[in-house]
Amino acid sequence: MRRRQFFGLAGGLALGRGEASTRCGCALSLAEQPTGAEAFRGVGSKVRVTSLKVFGVSIEPQSDRPYVFVKLETDAGLVGWGEATLEGKAGAVIACVNDFHEFLIGADPVQVEHHWQSMYVHSFYRAGPVMGSAISGIDQALWDLRGKILGLPVYKLLGGPVDPRGVRGYYHARAGTREELVKLRETAAKEGVTCFKSGIPGLYEWIETRAKIERAVRQMQTLREGLGPDIDIAVDFHAKTSPSVASILVKEAEPLNLLFIEEPCPPENVKAMARIARRSTTPIATGERLIASYSCRELIEMGVADILQPDICHVGGITALWKAGAMAEASGISMAPHACEGPIGGIATLHVDAAMPNFLVQEVCSGVRPERKEKIWEEWLGFPAMRMVEGRFPLPDKPGLGFELSEDALKKYPFGGTRPMARVFHEDGSVAEW
């Protein structure tokens, strides 16, 4: 018996009914809890989770975003993989995944919604980004197992695919000059890529000078001029701008007919973002930092976002991304999920994308040409993961998430430890958003 359990029982035994307790009212003793998994005997599946493993994987030793992969093993010999990568906080997420050990050992992986609720609700304080990412990784691994147990790819369990050709995506346009963009446009035409995303240059204070504003506007104009009238262009402000500055830029960008402008201001104050949206016709996309479907509610209700972008590695996995999509659908809002982590989260997102009628476009943090990262992903999974064919990510046909991954393959890239994300400062030394 564990110490905690022992004290809980002792407390319960020592006190008679109605007797005053010195135990505080917010510490429920374990003895009073219902029986959990045992109560579902006969209505669940027969498969049980037997082990939980977490891997920190640094494909570059100094990376600020080592992948955090979650592996669940079962008594049926099936394994499930998920991704809990959280940039800058790898150590915390690994610890948080392990905190859920007792929730998972002996659990029936089929009842994912039940486990999601238990992890979220029974954590009492609800989830921030660390716990949101931990739940996300576990949730994806449970879905991978569910699909394998039930014999269907996850997108079919979710009722898809909406489009059997696959999931429309965009690459990042890193090119800066007009000439480079014209070249990119030619490559895109050859490859069938229909959409790109780019950013705005530099750092922004909460009020800005004409020089900085006009530089950003020129950069957006160059994107349209270089990529031409037929490619969809999204511009990510990355919450570098305040509502005051973003309102100016978003309005100036109206003639460029952008697909969307992303995160025009930081995410804590929905009403402040509404100020931007109200004063322009340019579509607004946001949501990569949101945790659980609850956090999407205000954005949807207030008519702020035209497009929601929850991240399957933070929002709470497949379960929570699908719910955010369902809420958005009711208000005619499209989904363009954020993805800037590893291949497992990317593939998991494709399954949800393929089952959402209001899906717009899927991100991958890659350029139009595969580089080292994309080659490592292919080496791990045995196919070019998260690479588009004719502008779409192909859907796997195998049960679960649809890939095999061996622990040995990851050993080449050991965990390099937690590294902070970029820290940037304004000219006067004050803290800047990037």
Partner: protein, 349 residues
Amino acid sequence: MAGTEIFIEDLRAWAVREPVSRRAYTILRIRTRSGLAGYGECAGITAAELARARPLLLGQPATAYEVLDRRLAELPNARAAVNVALLDIAGKFARAPIFQVLGGPTRHKARAMTALTGASDAARAAGFRAFVVPVPPPAAPNQGQAFVNAVRRRLEALRAAGAEDLVLDGGGLLSPGDAAGLASALERFHLLWFDEPCATSALGAIRKLAAENVTPLGFGRNARQASEFQDLLREDAVDVIRPSLARHGISPIRKMAALAEAYYVAVAPYHDGGPVATAAALQLAASLPNFFIQQIPLPEAEEDRKMRAELTSQPVELVKDGFAALPTGPGLGITVNEEALKKYGEAVA
């Protein structure tokens, strides 16, 4: 903790006036039993107000600036100066600049701007790169296109002369309708912001003005309390809050800045007083995360500038390439020259 108890023993003030501009302000001094002296500044204080403040302050703990701020609620002028003076004492006691006492420095220099009445040459020579330009005083309510064109021409002429970053100062003089016309006409001019485009009394009118165009708006030099900023922020009506140093001192503005921070709104404290308040403003700037720019008065007359420098022994208003250097000594980081106070002003008694 007995070693940290210091008590207020004495309170006095001097009214000073710049010889040419006639700009007036009052410097207040608090002395502790242990012999520390702290200085603050406000627009003006009467002998009667000073007499009412004394029994509220004498014998009280000098570091309790937050507690004593409340005691002075009925004496708004004294309140601002006392707040700064008590923080000056706290800093001197801690042998640290006020911005360190308050959790800074959040920056190593403070962006600065100054008001222009004529050409920008002198202000540029003094190191300023951002300027406040007043609208011409409107002859009557409801201006026409001629007024809009006159303002635009003035701004364009300044830009052509190299004054790139401009705040248009409406001074609260325009009707909301005139202000809206001007804000829309200047939307693509990219002012830093349009300050006090109309009076803050009609919140509904301001909300409409702010919803119609994207020219950033600044408000608040006349605001008496934080709740006025809360109203403007809640109504999505403000892009820069401008609490006045002379009205509030340091710590009340920190609370207003905390409100604005939650809306991603910048703070640019209003200041048209003397050099002690400038020192306070720079201390404040280096303690805030959402500070954007500090207005610093730059008198045209050499005589006035000389007086300002003398009052603080060494000049504190040192601007280079658009940024003011932070004072680094304890407290306000200045040594107030009481001989100069007597030379340029008179004791309030």
